[in-house]
């Protein structure tokens, strides 16, 4: 990349910078075209972007289908964040039993109404959702579903389909959660 071309890449760089500052994933299957452009840009200039951000202490991590930044030098993670990821045992379990096809590799789209109908007719799933105390207060099945989807969206693992709030995509970054569960070992 020639620095004289900086002007041309200004907007994309600003998107990447925004993702870095706000801790967002840069997903290949994002519905936001700006994020998609940023993904393609990083794929093309991976080394340059990596070097650039390494100067300020950030490492660009490249995974299949998504990128993200980490700060070098952290040794421990605050308890709040550990708890945030432990919640995903419940969420991932719920999603798997709801639809085995839901994964980072098969992003959907999935419909909130379809999930709601499943929930209406499946006591096991309903009980699972009822026990998710970390979700905000909800009185109906639809509110519970919306709450789970919102959590996924806020943590960068799902995204709405353009104007269709009803439909959502599971982003490639959901592989983070899948990998985390995969790595856990336990005593029987």
């Amino acid at each position: 990349m020639n620095l004289l071309q900086l002007e041309d890449y200004k907007e994309i760089f600003q998107v990447i910078e925004d993702c870095r500052v706000n801790g967002r994933f840069i997903n290949e299957n994002s519905t936001d075209y700006k994020i998609k452009d940023a993904y393609n840009f990083i794929s093309q200039y991976k080394q340059e972007v990596k070097t650039y951000f390494s100067i300020i202490g950030y490492s660009l991590v490249s995974q299949k289908g998504y990128f993200y930044f980490i700060i070098e030098g952290y040794e421990t993670i605050p308890k709040a964040y550990i708890n945030a990821y432990i919640d995903y045992i419940d969420i991932y379990r719920f999603l798997k039993l709801l639809n085995t096809n839901i994964s980072s590799s098969d992003g959907g789209p999935y419909s909130a109404s379809d999930i709601e109908s499943r929930l209406n007719g499946d006591i096991e799933l309903k009980t699972m959702v009822d026990k998710m105390n970390f979700l905000k207060k909800r009185s109906t099945n639809r509110e519970a579903i919306d709450s789970i989807i919102l959590r996924l969206k806020n943590d960068g693992f799902a995204q709405s389909m353009g104007n269709k709030e009803e439909e959502f995509l599971i982003l490639r970054s959901f592989k983070f959660i899948e990998d985390m569960i995969e790595e856990i070992e336990y005593e029987l």
Partner: protein, 392 residues
């Protein structure tokens, strides 16, 4: 394995065919040869659909050798509410053929006519072909259903069911193939009956065509089954982790803590947001963290240091040098003077990477307040840089 035939559809097909035949008769489109109606598909297009439907329902049995429509042996079975497509029927048909062979041999000895046995053998061969075809059709339907099924338990059960049917079909097809090889010489050489030879060939070709597909599907199904079993293990693991979590034993009985530390990258992007509101705070925080933890420069920087064109950094001084990277600070001093950005930064004691970093970051962050002239270039440490000055 069963395929349900809707009785309403079946009755409708019979009535439609009856009407179509009467209609064709009065239209005179059905020809008669020796007082036997001769069905010609080109002259009886309306009739064709109705008859094909009845062939589907196994009311008629079309003999491709004599080009004649016969009433199916299984017609009576179709008068029931539903009919089973049973793979075991293939074995039964083989038993019937074996019995008919015995009858033919007896009749042959007594010089009696055995044409009715031949007709029944041909019909059995046609039925075997039909059962195989239907079983494949039914399996395809099942396969589509279980792939679309979202409920894991139902999906798993359907999958095992489907695999059992497919394995049974595969075995039945192999057995039929063996059966044909075993009796081919009897029918072709000993009996020398052309119609039976025709039917044997037809069935052998059909088996040849479907065998490869069946083994391919069975292979795919086995792979899919492995995938489903993997998914089952995942769910089992999630259920167990959930149980540990509910019992408050997650940290005690699993390695989740060390996994989270190893995967700290998961948490960190979310960490950033509340802690660092802007770049200046971020840089200060990183530098302080580096000082506190005595963190050395990361690998990327180390690699850069050995480049000949770079100014070699003293690792211990890195945190102090990073202080100068505060974009806001640099910008505040830049706008207080009149030189272009590259010339201005040249005055600072920066290595190549630091120089580029601050140059790019400042340009991006404050581009609204800067004027870029691409026609003029400034050279610094072998890099060509645009001429950037403050606006106004």
């Amino acid at each position: 394995m069963t395929t349900n035939i809707n009785p309403k559809e079946f009755i409708k097909a019979q009535n439609d065919a009856k009407e179509a035949i009467i209609d064709a008769h009065f239209k005179g489109s059905i020809e008669y040869m020796d007082n036997i109606p001769y069905y010609n598909s080109t002259n009886n297009k309306d009739l064709t659909k109705a008859i094909e439907k009845l062939i589907d329902f196994n009311v008629f049995d079309y003999d491709e050798y004599s080009y004649s429509l016969l009433l199916s042996d299984d017609y009576n079975a179709h008068l029931q509410t539903y009919t089973d497509v049973n793979i075991k029927d293939i074995e039964d048909k083989q038993k019937i053929i074996k019995k008919l062979i015995r009858d033919i041999n007896i009749k042959k000895k007594d010089n009696n006519d055995y044409s009715s046995e031949i007709k029944r053998i041909n019909s059995s061969f046609r039925n075997i072909k039909k059962i195989i075809y239907r079983a494949i059709e039914s399996l395809n339907e099942k396969e589509m259903k279980f792939k679309a099924e979202v409920n894991f338990e139902v999906k798993k059960a359907n999958l095992y069911d489907c695999k059992a049917d497919l394995t049974a079909l595969s075995e039945a097809v192999t057995n039929t193939d063996k059966f044909l090889i075993e009796y081919k010489s009897y029918f072709v050489d000993e009996l020398s009956n052309e119609s039976i030879s025709f039917h044997i060939n037809l069935l052998a070709h059909h088996i040849h065509d479907v065998r490869e597909n069946i083994s391919k599907t069975l292979n795919e199904l086995s792979k899919y089954l492995m995938h489903i079993e993997k998914e089952a293990k995942k769910i089992e693991k999630l259920n167990h982790l959930y149980k540990l979590k509910v019992n408050g034993e997650l940290f005690e009985k699993s390695n989740i803590e060390s996994v989270l530390i190893r995967l700290k990258s998961i948490a960190e992007p979310i960490n950033v947001k509340p802690q660092y509101m802007n770049d200046l705070e971020l840089i200060d925080a990183i530098v302080n963290l580096a000082k506190e933890k005595k963190v050395s420069v990361n690998q990327e920087i180390k690699k850069e240091e050995i480049r000949p064109e770079s100014i070699k950094l003293d690792q211990n001084k890195v945190p102090q040098q990073k202080m100068i990277l505060g974009t806001k600070k640099v910008y505040s001093s830049f706008i207080k003077q009149d030189r272009d950005l590259a010339t201005f930064l040249k005055q600072k004691d920066l290595d190549k990477k630091q120089f580029l970093s601050i140059f790019i970051r400042l340009t991006l962050q404050y581009n609204k307040f800067l004027k870029i002239d691409k026609a003029i270039t400034i050279e610094h440490k072998g890099i060509e840089l645009p001429f950037i000055t403050k606006r106004g």
